[in-house]
């Protein structure tokens, strides 16, 4: 295509609103502007003056999709500041809550947002009941999402903005009988998730990004909630992660971009698999076999495959915890307010979530910095669209196909615009 001006004002089947402007002149890609179109809600300013005990439930409202990830990360930052060491039971229940989120959230992305592309449909709502594969995956979608949803409800009291997790522990403990029901449901969806892995292995596209860096928080059990920051060139303490993130102003986007150690990078399921596949649950590894040889991969579409694999890992890990957990009565630990600064880092479904907070002697927030995965991936998304265009210029004669390809690249990153647009960058001295 010689010349082209293309504006995608509202990309569908993603969380929130984003757009893209493209300008091609004389066969050269002159401009690619990927922009997050959600208006800011200024949480960075709104949290100032709030009590540390109230913070997690407030910042959970940054994003309905991954609200429980914000909840857990905020709690971790608060506990790090106050020096609170919670019980092993609390840590395991938090893992269960998060596994429920990973299952539900990845399933929403893969089945509801991505799968219609594989079957030539606009929406999973258009899938035909009398078509074998469409019927199967439509029903698999609801079964897998339900299992994750029910696990989050059983542990947290609700799958969105869970009310039970607090700084210091849980206000209410889950009922073992409810967890056993969840266990049966998790076992029931396992084979469906292996089918999903195989589908993505067989059908997904290829867009290779040479020299793309990766970063992920990993521990030996791939828990999403603890460990060290692994990256393409080594590893470092999670407390140092923010020091190596460079803020990049993107004037046409409502959200800020970031580079890590001076380079464009990717965070999320593909980064986790590339840097830590050997840490997956052993039962998952046995079932996946040679499929895992694909990783490390520079194909950004393998983020979808990696998410499907992480659903399997979350099922196996959650099942292990439920089978071995004997819930005993315990109260949440008391909060003793004191001045301090601290960091909380976890892996949200879409990648590294970073909270840095400072509080005064009465426990009120003085300032905070919250860096979300989609902000970190924003520059990479734009560059991936550019790479695709430069590699496929001669094929770009059909605007409709071009629009679909760009949307599918954005979707492969599974961006979350609600998260990305919550804040205004402030300097943190």
């Amino acid at each position: 295509m010689h010349n082209l001006d293309l504006t995608l004002s509202d990309i569908s089947k993603i969380e929130g609103k984003a757009g893209c402007d493209i300008k091609i002149r004389d066969g050269l890609v002159k401009e690619v502007k990927f922009s997050i179109a959600e208006f800011k809600r200024f949480y960075t300013q709104a949290i100032r003056g709030k009590d540390i005990a109230a913070l997690p439930q407030l910042t959970a409202r940054i994003c309905g999709t991954c609200s429980n990830a914000h909840l857990l990360c905020a709690i971790k930052a608060c506990e790090n500041i106050l020096g609170i060491k919670v019980s092993q039971q609390t840590l395991l229940l938090r893992q269960l809550l998060n596994f429920g989120l990973i299952i539900r959230d990845h399933a929403l992305h893969l089945y509801i947002f991505v799968l219609p592309d594989f079957f030539g449909r606009d929406s999973i709502l258009d899938f035909k009941e009398d078509d074998g594969p469409e019927h199967k995956f439509l029903h698999d979608a609801f079964a897998v999402k339900s299992a994750g949803n029910h696990l989050s409800i059983a542990v947290g009291g609700r799958s969105v903005h869970a009310p039970y997790p607090m700084v210091g522990g849980f206000t209410r403990l889950p009922d073992k009988a409810e967890l056993i029901k969840c266990l049966q449901e998790l076992k029931g969806i396992r084979s469906r998730v292996i089918d999903l892995v195989k589908l993505f292995l067989e059908k997904d596209k290829t867009l290779v990004r040479n020299n793309l860096q990766f970063a992920a928080l990993l521990d030996e059990s791939y828990s999403f909630l603890d460990g060290e920051i692994y990256h393409t060139d080594g590893k470092e303490a999670p407390e140092k992660y923010g020091d190596n993130l460079k803020y990049v102003s993107i004037p046409y986007s409502h959200a800020s971009g970031f580079r890590f150690r001076g380079k464009t990078f990717m965070t999320g399921a593909l980064a986790r698999l590339n840097l830590g596949k050997e840490k997956l649950h052993k039962k998952s590894k046995q079932s996946l076999g040679p499929i895992l040889d694909i990783f490390p991969s520079q194909n950004i579409y393998h983020n979808n495959l990696a998410q499907a694999i992480e659903i399997l890992h979350s099922i196996d890990s959650a099942a292990d915890i439920i089978e071995n957990l004997d819930i005993k009565e315990e109260k949440q630990l008391p909060i003793t307010r004191k001045a301090g600064e601290g960091v909380g880092v976890i892996e949200a479904p879409r990648g590294i979530l970073y909270y840095r907070l400072a509080i005064d002697g009465t426990g009120r927030i003085i300032k905070g910095q919250i860096v979300v995965p989609t902000g970190q991936n924003q520059i990479g998304i734009e560059e991936s669209i550019r790479v695709y265009l430069e590699n496929n210029l001669e094929k770009l004669n059909d605007r409709e196909i071009l629009e679909k390809e760009i949307e599918s690249i954005v979707r492969a990153y599974d961006p979350c615009m609600s998260c990305a647009s919550h804040f205004l960058k402030i300097r943190y001295s």
């Binding site: 929130g16 300013q45 709104a46 309905g64």
Partner: protein
């Protein structure tokens, strides 16, 4: 195909928690709803959009820009009923937190407000259009939502 309820689902400034609850309600209700509801617009699930002559528009989120306000008015003009869904749509908060900022904080965010043409104040839906019903909660209360869906299915004579 039998007559179906022409439904739209729209999101403005919020965390979209009610959208997530809605997608989870589909797990249990989709097979029933697909026979009764024509999803005309719901961008989290589909690209196609048809705003004409909607029976019911469910709207989540608060209004923070002139563009959002204009679009809400268009949705209102095209919908027989409009329902505010979730806390931000019903009462503005927590998306309206900036309405309470002090002068110093307002100065800090002023450049952003100007560059992207924010409204001076974040508004709940009923400050801009007539709202027929509300589903309160953060996220929305599922039972109230399901009761309302049932009410409109009867009111528009989709079911008896």
């Amino acid at each position: 195909m039998n007559k179906r309820l022409k439904l739209g689902w729209f999101s403005f400034s919020c965390c979209e928690d009610s959208t997530i609850i809605f997608t989870e309600l589909l797990n249990d209700h989709y097979l029933t709803w697909k026979k009764l509801i024509d999803f005309r617009s719901i961008s989290v699930l589909q690209k196609k959009e048809d705003l004409t002559d909607l029976d019911v528009a469910f709207v989540e989120g608060a209004i923070t820009s002139g563009g959002q306000s204009d679009r809400l008015k268009v949705i209102r003009e095209n919908s027989k009923k409009l329902v505010a869904v979730g806390s931000c749509a019903c009462v503005g908060m927590p998306s309206a937190q900036r309405n309470l900022f002090n002068t110093e904080t307002n100065t800090e965010i002023e450049a952003i407000l100007t560059r992207f043409k924010y409204l001076p104040k974040v508004q709940k839906l009923s400050e801009i259009v007539t709202v027929d019903d509300q589903v309160p909660g953060c996220p929305m209360n599922e039972k109230i939502f399901l009761t309302l869906v049932d009410k409109y299915l009867k009111e528009f004579k989709i079911i008896s």
